[in-house]
Symmetry: C2
Subunit: 476 residues, 2 copies
């Protein structure tokens, strides 16, 4: 298994620190706002990674993903207001009300796209004692200094600063300037403890007065606490590589003199029709809307099928094409069960073996899911010819179902493999019912049409009969 | 509005500290095991209380319910092993894995029975800094002492110890003995900070060495932090009155010299067929099983309809009777909409006014939900006669629906008021579909029967055709 390592800028053979076990940390959500599409993109990618390690490579995976419930500053800047404090003020809520609400929404979104819960999801505020200890240790070891209740990491003391991102101090200092109100020694020093702003709620007593942790130190403290001073894989979105992850490396060096992570993995950026998604550009799609529009399974199939560390572009046509591919797989299984004959087909069996080999090769190559899925589509094409002939038997069917069930432990989109479920895709169900209802309406059988409407409502969908005779729906 | 106050042992007129606002704290779940029926009983009761204050008395309610994720000791004893540490060891999990899993299950159960989330649900481990400060303050004020890394509250210094439970020190000391390995001065002193046991995971550095908080101090710290030194209502199960709540009062006295709570409310015990529910007695029902068996709405209607501070007994017959009552209300609305005539009926309007007055009287009398619901049933009986005659008009219908929608903000069981939902009771839907399917099967229309089966499966239910011709079902 090879993984691209941002640290070395190359694909490397994955070697775990502990035989049979993968210790993995992924930067989690800052719970100041509802989940956005970038979160879904990133966490589906790491869900695929964790499930592949578990189900194909037989590792025990211990997956830690934090929840940032304090310390992340507006604009991900070093100075400024805590995102949660600011948003809570705007919405006239206690910061914890905002946090609780967004944690609820976060789980709803991630559960919907079938990301398994990480083994543990520690919250930053559960680690204030340990964070204060870490900051003190950085001061004691000469890597941090206090000014007026703020504590900064002195990056000039960090030998390898820039090792992950390439942003070495000489490069950074060329362009850096201290703001007039900056109290820190050097422009690239970063806060590990911040003085509480007046009127703030999220604050704790510390040796440096009332304050709250810097964002970067939280991840260092939590990853070290749960996974040790050096662990296998650290993931996160591409945009976190600098300064967040660079500063995590700096902090580990300051605290323990260690490299914290063997493999740094970063997910590629998400765009909408080629443009970065942002509220100001008006192309912002909430996760809820995206799920309502495309369905959670289609969304997952599309995102899981894009290379995790390449950019991914969300566009109707691409999701529809991906959805159609999933439909071709479903269709193959429909015919596979229907046309089964009596004689074992060696050729079909060979195709399946080829698929298994190709799939694993592609996934072992830095989780190349687009190629792995292409191998599935190739198999479908080959198999369909044999299936049409009916020259195969139950054993063939069982072999194919068995293998696809294994693949589905990673992709989690093949609901049609479950005999009890026609389709688990709620949107598909609603669409089919609307068609059925429209036929009844055409035949003026309004009683039956109304019964179908009740079934649609029971699925949690609303429908609207448009003036042009079409029917729109909205999934709740 | 009168509330029974455990502190004064009488019903008292409710007077909030801040006009228009109710500050309310309820002891939450210790997340070492799945939710049990006692939790559901208690949190439905406080949900009804909070919703009544909001919707009928127009208060702003700020409802805090903690999550105990460390510090609760096996058997709720003062000495012994932390419940979460022990259970995690048994299940070979990191304690946080166990905690995360049980928090997930807790929300699933409480959401299912439609308890609104509290405004905030703080976790004990988010307050270790504040807990250590509180323990230090108790020592500094002479109310606590340290021995070998444990810190105990010295109850002999608490003037009014026993004020809530009646367990005054003279009564307690008559029966109390120090265990041979007890280090504390007096048998009734209780731990506010505990030395970490060897091999434990949940522990923090403190002025007294590595340790973790006592259970009682957590609630004092969290309620004070979010609601102030004295707040309006403190709730919890009856069994928490002593020692947990008595010790909360002691701690507030030790810390601030204050009475922390104006109204102490305690929910009555839950029994199953007259017997206390316990795993060892083999009559343990998980919340999931209870919801599958009776349906979340019926369970809520039954529990909300029992007096919150009286014992409640779970028995099939009682839940079925309660369910039948809910069915009578649904049936009234079915006929009400069907039989509507053209003339406004003053008598029906008067009945509704009477109901509104009686309902409020009963709810204002310490939330007497059984009597309040009896008033609803009386109205249904009176209204049904008029409804049968058809002598009422649309305005009557709207008045009745409007009032029941208000009532439903508290009870949350009248799904039939929503025009779009035939019945939101999944079990009811499944039952009706099974009946329909069996008719098709009787008529040998297996295609239609199979379509119905797909609808049942889509609802997340499994069905089993028994040899005797009946069909069983299981909701997932």
């Amino acid at each position: 298994m090879k993984l691209y390592n941002t640290l070395t800028r190359q694909k490397e053979e994955f070697k775990p620190i502990n035989k049979d076990r993968v210790n993995m940390y992924v930067c989690g959500v800052t719970v100041y706002a509802p989940l956005h599409m970038g979160h879904i993109r990133t966490y589906i990618a790491y869900d695929v990674m964790a499930e592949y390690f578990k189900n194909f490579l037989n590792y025990n995976v211990f997956y830690v993903r934090n929840i940032t419930d304090v310390g992340s500053v507006v604009g991900d800047a070093d100075q400024g207001e805590d995102k949660i404090e600011l948003k809570a003020k705007e919405e006239r809520l206690h910061p914890l009300e905002l946090v609780d609400r967004n944690i609820k929404g976060m789980w709803e979104g991630l559960d919907a796209v079938r990301c398994a819960r990480p083994n543990i999801s520690p919250r930053a505020t559960m680690h204030i004692v340990e964070i204060i200890e870490a900051v003190q240790k950085m001061i004691d070891r000469g890597f941090a200094y206090e000014i007026d209740g703020d504590v900064y990491c002195d990056v000039s003391k960090i030998k390898n600063y820039g090792i992950l991102s390439g942003n070495t101090l000489d490069k950074l200092e060329a362009g850096a300037r201290l703001d007039i109100d900056d109290k820190k020694h050097n422009p690239n020093d970063f806060a590990v403890w911040k003085k509480a702003r007046s009127g703030s709620v999220l604050k704790w007593n510390s040796p440096w007065g009332l304050g709250y942790p810097g964002w970067h130190i939280e991840c260092t403290v939590m990853s070290t606490k749960y996974l040790g001073q050096t662990f296998d894989i650290h993931g996160g979105g591409r945009e976190l590589a600098f300064p967040h992850h660079e500063n995590e490396i700096a902090q580990s060096y300051a605290l323990n003199g260690t490299q914290p992570v063997n493999y740094w993995a970063h997910t590629g950026m998400l765009t909408i029709n080629g443009v970065k998604m942002s509220k100001s550009l008006g192309n912002y799609i909430t996760v809820e809307d995206a799920i309502n529009k495309w369905g959670a399974v289609n969304l997952r199939w599309f995102l899981a099928g894009s290379k995790y560390n390449s950019p991914v572009n969300i566009a109707d046509e691409s999701i529809e094409a991906s959805n159609a591919g999933l439909g071709r797989i479903e269709n193959m299984f429909f015919n596979l069960k229907k046309n089964v004959g009596n004689v074992y087909n060696e050729e079909l069996s060979q195709y399946l073996d080829d698929l298994a080999a190709n799939f694993k090769n592609e996934m072992d190559d830095d989780l190349n899911t687009p190629n792995a899925i292409a191998a599935i589509y190739d198999f479908v094409k080959q198999a369909n010819i044999i299936i049409a002939s009916g020259n195969y038997n139950k054993q063939n069917v069982e072999e194919i179902i068995g293998y696809f069930k294994l693949v589905d432990k990673v992709f989690k989109c093949f609901d049609f493999l479950n005999d009890n479920v026609k389709t688990n895709n709620k949107e598909e169900q609603v669409k089919q019912l609307i068609e059925k209802r429209n036929e009844f309406r055409k035949n003026k059988d309004y009683k039956s049409a109304d019964e179908i409407k009740q079934q649609i409502l029971a699925l949690g969908a609303e429908i609207f009969d448009n003036k042009d005779g079409t029917t729109s729906y909205k999934l709740k």
